[in-house]
């Protein structure tokens, strides 16, 4: 396959600076691909897909989890030069440091509210604010240990933070699986490119989790808590447990006994010290949160409050990735760190502000509207692509419940070439989700999940909405 007919169409293209002119680092890859015999790339692509299917590297699509599919995957990697990566790495570390300070503050004195930076009503009315967490002190004052932050690039190539995911971000398992596949597919190009490794993620994750153990235990018992095999990210949960060599548990495996969380084993009940939980706050403990939750562990929150088990992420982190709070992150960074943000936010209109709401309602055909707490590309209006009826419907919803909505200009996301079904290369929009671990200090994984909107022209990259992924090579 050749890149001859590949069209840039006025977008920022990650691979080509201009037609036929590859960006820094891409030349050897393009030469290699074009040197492959006719049909060979497509054959390798199919082979990679069937390897994923046989290995059961799948996710459950749809809300009922009924259909199991592989996460579509495109063989041509996306590269990020060292000069781009350096500010991203610093910017993400800065951001998570500030957000952890924010979390600790909103569950204690709320200085940031008293000082008039963030309006009190935004916090009080947030679905994700957990009043039960007030006054709690997670180990080291760190609330969010695992973050997946979504970055995008505009038409001029500027990197922006699109959203912070501080609850249970998923996708890191695909980063590691994609890397294995890519190394097998382009071994020589990979070796020569000087790609930074991502393989130490599970080891670092385990280390960060072990640090949280309540007492100074020689070998604390860490587990991964999953909602079960019908959860869309189940593959990832089992993958991480396997990579870390810890137990993968479901809520029904855990029992609160004698003031501790224990797991039911064939030889009795065994104490658990740290839980990497991949279920939402609401479902953690039916006695404290939703009483209809069958996924959680009755009494867990009391043990947590008593400091006898650690949870990662801590309950209550959702307030920091509320999409309305997002609009305040630049001020949050300035307030706690007295620094300018290294990575810019996408300009954001907060609908609870009267003036900003009026602007949003008048410009719905240009804007992307998002609800404060939905993820996975649900609850979203892309103004330019929506029908008049859909826009009217959103206008009604915004007026009824302004607190729940933000709007942003429609960003012409950058594009990458993907292997299309007809055997040509076509441009598709992408974002990038790097993962950040916060043990003693923040650590940013060099790379992350490049998500691709596989539908031509689509700006929605979520796997639940037909998105795929690519391996991401951070160079140098």
């Amino acid at each position: 396959m050749r890149f001859d007919g590949y069209q840039i169409e006025g977008f920022f293209d990650e691979t080509f600076a201009a037609p036929g002119v590859p960006r820094a680092g891409y030349q050897p890859l393009i030469e290699r691909i074009e040197a492959l015999s006719e049909g060979e790339l497509l054959r390798r692509q199919r082979a990679a897909e069937s390897a994923l299917m046989d290995a059961g590297v799948t996710f459950n699509a749809g809300t009922d989890g009924g259909t199991e599919r592989i996460f579509p995957f495109d063989l041509v990697p996306r590269m990020v030069p060292a000069s781009d990566w350096e500010p991203i790495e610093r910017g993400l570390a800065q951001r998570i440091t500030a957000l952890n300070l924010f979390l600790d503050d909103v569950y204690h004195d709320q200085r940031i509210v008293k000082d008039g930076i963030v309006p009190a009503h935004l916090i009080e009315n947030a679905k994700t604010y957990v009043p039960q967490c007030r006054g709690l002190n997670p180990p080291g004052g760190i609330w969010c240990h695992i973050t997946g932050t979504d970055l995008i690039r505009d038409r001029d190539g500027t990197w922006y933070v699109l959203e912070d995911n501080l609850r249970c971000p998923s996708g890191v398992s695909y980063v590691l699986e994609n890397r294995q596949l890519l190394k097998r597919t382009f071994p020589a190009v990979f070796a020569a490119a000087g790609v930074r490794p991502v393989e130490d993620y599970p080891g670092r994750l385990l280390e960060a989790l072990q640090r949280l153990a309540p007492a100074a235990l020689a070998s604390p018992v860490v587990v991964v808590l999953t909602p079960g095999i019908y959860n869309s990210a189940y593959f990832e949960h089992s993958f991480l447990a396997r990579q870390m060599g810890v137990e993968l548990v479901e809520g029904r495996d855990l029992v609160v006994e004698g003031g501790f969380v224990t797991m039911r084993t064939t030889k009795g009940f065994r104490r658990v010290d740290v839980i990497y939980r991949r279920i939402d706050d609401d479902f953690l403990d039916p006695l404290t949160f939703r009483d209809d939750s069958a996924l959680g562990v009755p009494g867990l929150f009391d043990v947590y409050r008593a400091g006898r088990v650690a949870l990662a992420n801590a309950p209550g982190t959702g307030i920091a990735d509320d999409k309305v709070i997002y609009a305040f992150v630049p001020q949050i960074i300035r307030y706690y760190l007295d620094q300018d943000p290294i990575l810019p936010n996408v300009p954001t209109y907060v609908c609870s502000d009267d003036e900003q709401r009026r602007y949003v309602l008048a410009h719905l055909d240009e804007l992307v509207v998002k609800t404060a707490n939905d993820s996975g590309g649900y609850g979203m209006l892309i103004g330019p692509h929506a029908t008049a009826d859909e826009r009217d419907e959103f206008a009604r919803r915004i007026e009824a419940f302004p607190r729940n909505y933000i709007a942003q200009p429609t960003i012409a996301l950058s594009r990458v070439p993907v292997i299309a079904g007809d055997g040509s290369f076509q441009g598709r929009h992408v974002d990038l989700r790097p993962f950040i671990l916060h043990g003693e200090t923040p650590w940013v994984m060099p790379g992350g999940l490049t998500r691709v909107a596989l539908t031509p022209g689509s700006l929605v990259v979520n796997s639940s909405q037909g998105g795929g992924s690519k391996d991401t090579w951070v160079l140098g």
Partner: protein, 323 residues
Amino acid sequence: MLSRVADAIYWMNRYLERADNIARFIDVNYHLSLDLRGGDEQWLPLVATTAALPQFHERFDRPTRGNVIKFLAFDRENPDSILSCVERARENARAVRDQITIETWEEINTFYLMVRHEAALDNVTGDPHRFLSNVKTTGGLIQGVTDATTSRSEGWHWGRIGRMLERADKTSRILDVKYFILLPAVTDVGTPLDDLQWTALLKSASALEMYRKRYGRIAPERVAEFLLLDREFPRSVQFCLHLADVSLRTITGTQGETFSNPAEQMLGRLGSMLAYSGIEEIVTAGLHEFLDQLQRDLNTVDDAIHDGFFALRPAAATIGGNQ
């Protein structure tokens, strides 16, 4: 090991063994039917072997070859069809992905994809042999890969207990159903047809060659003895229960000849009973009654394992905690 994980590994193995046995039953019956005239094809006993007669009659009028194969191989409504078993085995495997080796998982996953594919094609009944031998081969492959890649720690032993209890149950069912379907036709005794049918029975348990090495000629009582009491044949009930017993004691650390929980007690008792039985007295007292009791006892062992290891309640913590 987590109780849920032990439970899932146990059932994953039971379902794989069940799928393997059902494929074996159908295949042998199919080949047997080729030697019989059309009207004499016997397909109903096969359904009886899997203890699913009522479900079959609910769904089909007549026990034709096509209906029975469809019911036993691909019917999702039949919880013991090959498709249902493989789906549940894979479901259990998925639930313990972190506990089984990648090799085992990939074999089970491709097995599942293969069976699902064949079920969708829906053209197996004409010549089922290729599909059925594929199922049997894959069953052996999964077991071989598992044995070659899995440490002999607790999980492996739970898997073996599941496999062995299932196999003991299926072997006893083959014997039970066939014995009573085949035996009553007194006029057939000693005829080529009779020989053919006993041969088929042994084949169902992959026991024909080993039986011939042991006894040479086919004789009903010897067949029963071989499948129930043989100490060396890996599909005999006695042999299976012995291995299950060894694995359970390895897990608990309990010495032989003693017991520390109801499951060990019942399994040990059942093993001893078989070890000190002779086939003549069993047949005299009634083989069917004997097998019926054996199957009930196997169910009791299964219940005891479930209560004692998989479904622990907090109140019982001290019982399990000091072993």
